[in-house]
């Protein structure tokens, strides 16, 4: 192009009469502009490529699109458009003339405090709020990767928060906090306490068990294997049932620990066993050369594990670890078997309440529970995804 505009090259002047002689093979008229080729970028292009590329695809798109719209519309009209937003009792939530009965939200809002605290005595509920606040601060400190002094944060989250939570939730008469028996705890509080105990205890215990199972010392490896296989082979419900009912036969009343303690121990040991197998999967994936390399540098067993093997193994098992956490979070609803009212059970109580029982009380309650569980689990999943992205920079393809 530059050659054409370059003023140093003289452009020959063509006389008008000669120009006519080009007519035979040069078009004097500009070519009609053509339509651009079908776009493959942008929303329309993407849709054309992926949704309507052939007759079959188009048909499938239309069928499933209609189905999805129908489902979403049904859900939205139940949850929002036809829903009842205010009212004093079941009368408000019944189908009125001209519209179908949608979700009965006042039934939920009336019991929001109950879903959060269970039967925790009302004058003492500020203690639960304080624990929630401390926990959120700790969570942000530990999970936000660029936060300052994360070592302090870890100490705060894993040592100070549990101790403070114990003193605040259970009570410490010395500090003027009357004791609140754990059978009064309930709702989201119980779900959080049990699942965080499971999560906090599961990873360290699981790592130890996984290393133990791969140990060359037969005592350690057999003991770890037996523990893992027994814990994975027995349903959690059975263990909880035994903890609740059978311990009473063997232990005098004053040695029989509170239900909450039994549930915490059972859930922590269970998730540790599952976690151990996840971590072991990660350990198997690390080539033997890594261990040998560490040894040749003069690192001992614990040093090489801490500095070389575990950081790699844990990184590749993040999806499995978070999977176990999410499963553990949802498994907390099993503790109903020992008579503790977790979040789901408190919602079921609301559904059962004759003051609000209507044909829609069941669907409303379970929809609410599903939304809450989904928010929690999706949060965990997104966070793990972010960590994965951050840690996989070296391996990014």
């Amino acid at each position: 192009m530059s050659a054409v505009t370059d003023p140093s090259i003289p452009v020959p002047e063509i006389p008008v009469s000669e120009a006519r002689s080009f007519e035979g093979y040069v078009s004097a008229m500009p070519v009609e502009p053509q339509a651009p080729p079908a776009s493959t970028t942008g929303v329309v292009g993407w849709m054309r490529m992926h949704l309507f590329s052939s007759l079959g695809n188009t048909a499938l798109t239309i069928i499933f699109g209609a189905f999805a719209l129908y489902m979403i519309w049904g859900l939205l009209s139940f949850a929002i458009f036809d829903a009842t937003w205010a009212g004093a009792d079941r009368e408000a939530c019944l189908a009125h003339t001209g519209r179908e009965a949608g979700a009965c939200w006042p039934m939920i809002t009336e019991r929001l405090a109950y879903f959060t605290y269970g039967s925790y005595p009302i004058p003492q509920r500020w203690r639960v709020d304080v624990v929630f606040l401390l926990g959120v601060i700790g969570l942000i400190w530990v999970l936000w990767i660029d936060a300052p002094r994360r070592d302090l944060g870890a100490f705060y989250f894993f040592v100070i928060v549990p101790v403070a939570a114990y003193c605040l939730l259970y009570g410490l008469p010395l500090l003027g906090l009357p004791i609140v028996d754990t059978d009064l705890w309930g709702g989201f509080l119980v779900t959080l306490v049990i699942s965080s105990a499971g999560i906090v205890a599961a990873l360290p215990l699981g790592i130890l068990l996984a290393l133990g199972r791969r140990s060359k010392l037969p005592v350690i490896s057999v003991a770890s294997t037996i523990f893992i296989e027994v814990a994975r082979g027995v349903p959690l419900i059975t263990v909880l049932f035994v903890a609740k009912v059978m311990l009473g036969y063997f232990l005098p009343e004053r040695f029989d620990p509170a239900l909450m303690v039994k549930a915490l121990i059972a859930v922590a040991l269970f998730s540790a066993a599952y976690m151990a197998e996840v971590v072991r999967g990660g350990l198997q994936a690390i080539p033997k050369g890594q261990q040998e390399g560490a040894s040749s540098l003069g690192l001992g067993y614990w040093q090489s594990m801490r500095l070389i093997i575990l950081p790699q193994a844990l990184r590749i098992t993040i999806p499995g670890i978070v999977n176990t956490f999410i499963g553990g979070f949802k498994d907390t609803s099993l503790i109903l078997i020992i008579g503790m009212f977790d979040f789901l059970k408190t919602v079921e109580v609301a559904v059962e309440d004759p003051k609000w029982s209507t044909p829609v009380s069941g669907p409303t309650g379970y929809l609410f529970a599903a939304i809450v569980y989904w928010i929690c689990c999706f949060g965990m999943s997104r966070y793990s995804r972010a960590i994965e992205m951050r840690l996989s920079v070296a391996h990014k393809r």
Binding site: R90, L94, A95, A101, E110, R111, A113, Y114, Y117, G118, S119, Y120, I122, D181, D183, L184, G186, F241, K244, V245, M246, L247, G248, Y249, F250, L251, P252, E253, L336, I337, G339, F341, K345, T346, E348, V349, E352, D353, P354, K355, S357, T358, P359, S361, G362
Partner: protein
Amino acid sequence: MKYFFALLSAGLAMAFAAGGAEAQTLNQVKQRGQLICGTNTGLAGFALPDPQGNWAGLDIDYCRAIAAAVLGDATKVKYVPLDATSRFESLKSGAVDVLVRNTTWTLSRDSAQGLDFEATNYYDGQGFMVRKKMNINSALELNGASVCVQQGTTTELNLADYFRSNKMKYEVVAFKSDEETVKAYDSGRCDAFTTDASGLAAERVKLATPDDHVILPEIISKEPLASSVRKGDSQWATIVRWVHFAMVDAEEAGVTSKNVDEMMKSPNPEVKRMLGVEGKFGEGLGIPNDWVVNIVRQVGNYGEVFDRNVGAGSPLKLPRGLNNLWTKGGLQYAPPIR
């Protein structure tokens, strides 16, 4: 290994021996200052936490009444929600002092399960619900009707027995879950719906228009829901039994939570004995002499408790029916306090 087993069995023997010696439930409750009461995990009208988290219901009020009688304070109760599978084990192992959990009193349970049934606080039984516009006043008019019932339950068997013994024809429409059954009835797939009468009332309020449905008076099976205690502690058993009797006697004598203080001055010798003004009947049971005053003042008499939780004063609106006093044609009859 031999020593290990010897030690283990010695330990077990001691544990069970200790269990046997712990027959004095009353002393334990007094020492603890709290009654541990096994209840349902959530059944409308019988045991259900309210929005503030406080348990309420007919069974709950029985726990409160026992605490009021023994400890003088109806709030000193710890509730242990139990499901159907763990209720008897929990009572036998000593995890709860008393079981008030809508449990049907049957011979096999009374003889084999290591527990003693004490007092029937609700006479339940299988009943029918139909639409008002059918204009039926008795289950005997159900000839040829289609009946919605839950599959594989004793309810289904009772239904068959009842129609066969009355030489009536019927059509079963059976479903796996309770919820499906109610839904089918509500959508008009059958003329009648059958389950226990208290359940009928609870299900009725789940229908779109409860007032369009009636519960028929016939009860075709016996389901006496009773409280129970561990076998072998007759003192505690007597207390649990008499708490119920006292509530029924109080209703019969017209002593209510509102007038109990005036009634203390009543010249009626029966009321005087009941409220501990005369005689030492409470002490005979090993509990304070004003036990009935505490029960009635803090919890109420049987009629009040029934009305508040399952009767006219509750959303369930169950009729008194079999649970009326014997003087009014019901089955609630209590021996005299004298």
